[in-house]
């Protein structure tokens, strides 16, 4: 690794992604900033429609340029990606940065063998021979733990099980040793025992190659397992950010409290009902004013002057830690310990 280790490898500044649709403009991402260094994993948590997938498609430049307006800056290793030419992006995609998608079956082509699909990326970026690409595909399949890779390399996706397909996708994403890997809910479609295998595999590969990983999920349990830092998204904005320990032990935003207390766990007392967040996620066509969480927030009325519905709370990040909420630090401490206390009883 180079001396740029301490520099953020990926830096997103005030990213805005707006789609124009028949019904109006959808503000899918609205002012998002974060940094990621090499060898670290950033977990992005949020519900459907919170903008987590859109952010990452935009990093890769996979959005439709005709109907999408992207503002802000995305720098990868010092290179600006927003507004970069398709040719530049093509060189980076699959090579320096790559992506693992949620649904491995629809992301693999049913007409081509696994080996060909893995080798294709490698050939495109290295210009090697078909034979070398095939050898590389076999090597990658071995590395992700597919038994008998020499034989399975000629199989079609339908001949693989769900867990094996996801492994093949990971092999494809890692074939050019990317420095940035974006994993969009890679384990959501898998069973828990297979999910555990895949997460171990990603951790091993990260140790080996020093890859920076963005791991998108809605499952805080998965975050606790894999991430170093956590970014919580709601309604296209970051509401809380910090190290895994900080966010899970000492969450600062009422939305994060809600997520944590609505999740049933194996230790939750069974006779206490779960504590759901009322209402449902906002429409991004016409998002709530002020803090986007305020219509569902139990603490909105504790803030004086109706600030929550009129003014957007600022996200101030100090040492990688911060949250966007109008509550004062004292109020948060009090309300969260109340919540934690009622859950424990």
């Amino acid at each position: 690794m180079t001396s740029t280790d301490q520099q953020p490898f990926l830096s997103i500044k005030d990213l805005k992604v707006h789609f124009s649709t028949e019904d109006g403009t959808v503000k899918a991402v609205d002012g998002l900033s974060f940094d990621l260094v090499r060898g670290k994993t950033l977990g992005i948590v949020g519900e459907s429609g919170s903008g987590k997938s859109v952010t990452n498609l935009t990093i890769l430049g996979l959005h439709n340029p005709d109907s999408t307006k992207v503002e802000g800056s995305i720098t990868l290793d010092g290179e600006e990606l927003n507004g970069a030419s398709e040719k530049t992006l093509e060189k980076l995609r699959g090579n320096k940065m790559s992506m693992i998608f949620q649904d491995a079956l629809t992301s693999l082509s049913p007409y081509h063998t696994i080996g060909k699909q893995i080798g294709e990326t490698y050939r495109k970026h290295t210009g090697c021979s078909k034979k070398a690409a095939r050898d590389r595909a076999i090597e990658m399949l071995r590395r992700v733990g597919i038994p008998q890779p020499e034989v399975r390399v000629d199989d079609y996706p339908h001949q693989f099980s769900g867990g094996m397909r996801q492994r093949a996708m990971i092999a494809m994403a890692l074939v050019c040793d990317p420095e940035l890997l974006i994993a969009d809910e890679p384990t959501t479609a898998l069973d828990v025992t297979v999910q555990a295998q895949i997460m171990d595999l990603l951790k091993d590969l990260q140790k080996e190659f020093g890859t920076a990983i963005i791991f998108i999920t809605h499952d805080l349990g998965v975050i606790a397992d894999i991430a170093d830092d956590v970014l919580v998204m709601y309604g296209g904005r970051c509401v809380e950010r910090g190290s895994k320990k900080e966010v899970l032990r000492d969450p600062q935003h009422p939305y994060t409290w809600g997520l944590l207390s609505s999740m049933p766990s194996l230790d939750h007392p069974v006779d206490v009902p779960l504590n759901p967040i009322p209402g449902s996620p906002p429409s991004l066509l016409n998002p709530p004013s002020g803090c986007r969480f305020h219509p569902r927030c139990a603490f909105a009325e504790k803030v004086e002057g109706g600030l929550c519905s009129s003014e957007r709370p600022l996200l101030e990040i100090v040492d990688g830690r911060g949250s966007a909420c109008h509550l004062t630090a004292e109020q948060r401490g009090e309300y969260f310990s109340d919540l934690a206390g009622s859950a424990a009883n």
Binding site: D191, T193, K244, P264
Partner: protein, 348 residues
């Protein structure tokens, strides 16, 4: 069995789907052994959770109980009456007492019908006219599931995923059923909404005394909802017990592995459960392993496991009602499984 008849009594329930192949004459070339010899009971007002990974036959079981599928073998008794091969006419009265909630709240509601019509559907089919009219009953039901009764005339697309699932629950309640089979009712919903629907189902179960067969892959949700839990693997029940026994004292290696694989949102230095990493995938149900079906992924498997299928019995050390199908059951102080992953868990 006790003298009182359970609401639902299933014994030896089996479903094999034929696989057709060959040309020009398509013959049956094999069978998918989706469900293979299940025995369980559901008492009045009781909630039984069925857990397992995809392909283990839990959804097929749900569809067999509701008789949406014809069982290959075995017996299903409802209130002591054999309904295994009952025909449409004989089933009609039973069907109004057994209802189903489906997984996908988008696909299970007719987009062309209003919510009122959807929820009144079961009453219409069974020609039931409650006092005060169907509309009044529908409004009541909407209120029970936490929706605004004024939304009677709206269409499903006007509701969010969680609200649609509430509509599904209201429809299932329309005929005052005694048993509801809920097939992954919350897995399509967002985390914050899941808890709303789980709480609603719990309220319904407790207040109306309806028995549930709750099918899910999420062990934490099942633990929250069910009094008894059955763990399935490749078409068989490997362990069945009261909730606290199953989660507190899992005896089958698979149950133990499954529990240990659930990711928990904690960052404690000492994890509550020892992680057991299973290797490989679930084998194909077309040609399941001989003997114990779990043996190909089990760290304890011996010769005996390959030749002899372990019966589902109350093994030594189990409380009454806690049945385990294993030759070498786990005990609380068994040395934990060898770690199958190469590296130790990195300290958080």
């Amino acid at each position: 069995m006790s003298s009182t008849t359970p609401l639902l009594d299933v014994s030896g329930l089996t479903k094999h789907f034929p696989i057709k192949g060959g040309f020009p004459i398509r013959r049956t070339v094999g069978h998918v052994q989706a469900v293979d010899g299940l025995d369980f009971q559901v008492g009045e007002g009781e909630s039984l959770g069925l857990v397992g990974e995809s392909g283990c036959g839990k959804s097929t079981t749900g569809r067999l109980i509701t008789r949406l599928l014809e069982p290959t073998a075995g017996k299903i008794s409802y209130q002591g009456k054999d309904i295994t091969h009952a025909n449409r006419k004989q089933l009609a009265p039973v069907r109004s007492e057994i209802q189903m909630i489906f997984q996908d709240p988008y696909a299970s509601l007719n987009p062309r019908h209003t919510v009122g019509k959807i929820i009144a559907g079961p009453m219409e089919i069974n020609d039931i006219n409650p006092a005060g009219g169907r509309e009044k009953r529908v409004r009541e039901l909407l209120e029970i599931v936490g929706l605004n009764p004024e939304h009677y005339n709206r269409f499903p697309h006007e509701f969010s995923g969680g609200q649609r699932q509430r509509i599904g629950v209201a429809r299932a309640l329309a005929l005052e059923p005694k048993l509801i089979v809920a097939d992954e009712p919350v897995s399509a919903l967002d985390v914050s909404i899941q808890a709303q629907v789980v709480n609603l189902l719990q309220k319904v179960q407790q207040e109306l005394g309806i028995a549930f067969v709750f099918i899910a892959h999420d062990l934490a949700v099942v633990r929250h909802f069910s009094q008894r839990v059955a763990v399935m693997y490749l078409g068989k029940i490997v362990e069945i017990a009261d909730r606290d026994d199953l989660y507190g004292n899992p005896r089958h290696p698979y149950t133990r592995a499954l529990l240990s694989a659930v990711p928990e949102a904690t960052v404690d230095e000492t994890p509550a459960r020892e992680r057991i990493r299973l290797q490989g995938d679930v084998p194909s149900p077309i040609n399941p392993p001989s003997g114990c079906r779990f043996r190909t992924r089990c760290w304890k498997a011996t010769e005996k496991c390959a030749t002899e299928a372990p019966p589902l019995v109350q093994v030594e050390g189990n409380k009454p009602g806690h049945l385990t199908a294993c030759h070498y059951p786990e005990t609380a102080d068994t040395v934990p499984a060898p770690r199958l992953s190469k590296d130790p868990e990195p300290a958080v």
